[in-house]
Amino acid sequence: MPEHRLLLRRHLGVDFTKLENYLKHGGFKMWAKALELGPDGVTAEVKASGLRGRGGAGFPTGMKWGFLPKDNRPRYLVVNADEGEPGTFKDRYFLEEDPFRQLEGILLGAYAINAHTCYIYIRGEYWNSKNVTEDAIQQLYKANWLGKNIQGSGFDLDVYVHSGAGAYICGEETALIESIEGKPGMPRLKPPFPANIGVFSMPTIVNNTETLAAVPVILEMGAQAWSDLGSPRNGGTKLVGVAGHVKNPGLFEVPMGTPMREIIYELGGGILDDREILAVIPGGSSCPFLTKDEIDVAMDFDALKTKGSMLGTACITVIAEGTDLIKVMGRVAKFYQHESCGQCTPCRQGTGWLHAIAQKLDQGAAGEEAIDLLIDACNQIDGNTICAHGEAAAWPIRSIAKKFRPQLEAAIRARLAAA
């Protein structure tokens, strides 16, 4: 199956944390092209490529950049490197192994939107990522790829790493903005959107690490060529992960729209001990689970939606037959309860119920009627919260309760019999 090597360059065996190596392999060549195109030209190219945000929501990047108001307020570029969605391990690659890709994307993006300050918000637990990225930034300042009058262009840009401190919710863009401002990471009501009132009340673009890392590649190959790589409306290549019960867990790069089955069985090497698949999570634990009969689907934003799930971060978790789904559900519920910021009652209380019911089920202290309670609790969260964290908890759990009822019932009966 076609693996691509545009973004993921481990096969070259080059130490891309050294600027000289990055430059030797064509790094920062796109700066000259950006200057030729001008800021609007860069935005137009990104728009034409159809690039959609790699943070999970798939919002068209060029369109987002175009939403900035035409006024004189200072603008900020904020990079979302808070990777925390359970099951995900893709931004870590850029942060630790190819940090200049993201930084070149930042330079191009900042130029396009006329921002002179960029914060890279890196998850607190990513110590190595923070160190490598910080070191890369210092190398760029020394070589005048950051700072004042970059390469004599007259363009100024400062880039700072801002470390998170252990709160998944800060991956939500408005919580992330609050966190850069030094506050608790409580998501804001939208509107206003960050493009108008973002960090320090100024117009702000928040983009995921992989989104920005794709920008130099797009400028280099051209919008059309990038867009042609993927499926319609889902242009380009995408980093995809495979983890869980597979023989060859890892991170790969494929064209958008590659069949999920091929990713699991060819790149992922198939299921451990050649077992059957029980369930698949397409892109992080916020995504509704798929059954083994639902994996004949293209890995892109639109196709997964038609299956009632989401592409999310495109890091797949494979769960093999024989796994206790009550345990899995318990881990999912615990996570979302622990990470709820607590400001909306349906999310705070609802995730608490989900976790409590899951625990009762695990202890053999609840019967099959608890499955309906779970579905009911999920329905009460859905659509009633400030940010999507509530749904991120409700959707996967409801999908387990609805699609895997026979397995749950068997697991419940086994516990009741043992008690």
Binding site: F89, Y160, A165, A167, V242, K327
Partner: protein
């Protein structure tokens, strides 16, 4: 909690300089709050009330706003922690790859439960959320170091080595045994609801 830090804490000269630089990165001083709390934690071991007051004074912020932020983030310690903070991922992918056995081994070797700190101040054990290296599950982090594809045997060896190293190093700065200091339990509620 002030008896935990009897002297009025002061930032080191290096950290004072670092704070001046951090303040230039943000248009409002509160932007530097989380970075400065990290510096404080690094120097003092954990964020006691006097340390948070120091941070508030340094950034000209109210103590309440410093407290509200510090309370929200799990990696900012509001209690003394062990020299080695053993954080085992127990989320889905690691569960599928045997994290229960990893936790069991840590409990056996350290003699403490998740959420507890050993009374010699050397180890805090915790179950944590996905460390986002799921393709190399099961995973754990000890202080700033990642460990991937951990097995119960490799963990036993690692922890035994750290016990030897820890015996020489002693606890973190700012260590006080909370039970001895009269604060009751050693539980570290990981929850960040203020």
């Amino acid at each position: 909690m002030s008896e935990a830090m009897p002297d009025t804490p002061q930032f080191s000269t290096a950290n004072k300089q670092k704070i001046v630089e951090l303040l230039t990165r943000y248009p409002r001083s509160q932007g530097a709050l989380i970075p400065v709390l990290w510096l404080a934690q690094d120097q003092f071991g954990w964020l006691s009330t006097p340390v948070m007051e120091l941070v508030a004074a340094e950034l000209k912020l109210s103590v309440t706003s410093v407290l509200a932020t510090a309370m929200f983030y799990t990696m900012l310690y509001k209690k003394p922690h062990g020299r080695f903070h053993v954080q085992i991922c127990t989320n889905v992918s690691c569960y599928l790859r045997g994290s229960d056995d990893i936790v069991a081994m840590a409990r056996e070797v350290l003699g403490i439960e998740p959420g507890q700190t050993s009374s010699d101040g050397l180890f805090t054990l915790e179950e944590v959320q996905c460390l986002c290296a799921c393709e190399r599950a099961p995973t754990l982090q000890i202080n700033q170091d990642d460990y991937f594809r951990v097995t119960p045997e490799s963990l036993r060896e690692l922890l035994t080595n750290l016990q030897t190293v820890g015996a020489k190093l002693g606890p973190r700065p700012g260590w006080v045994d909370e039970a001895l200091a009269g604060h009751g339990s050693h539980e570290h509620g990981g929850h960040h609801h203020a």
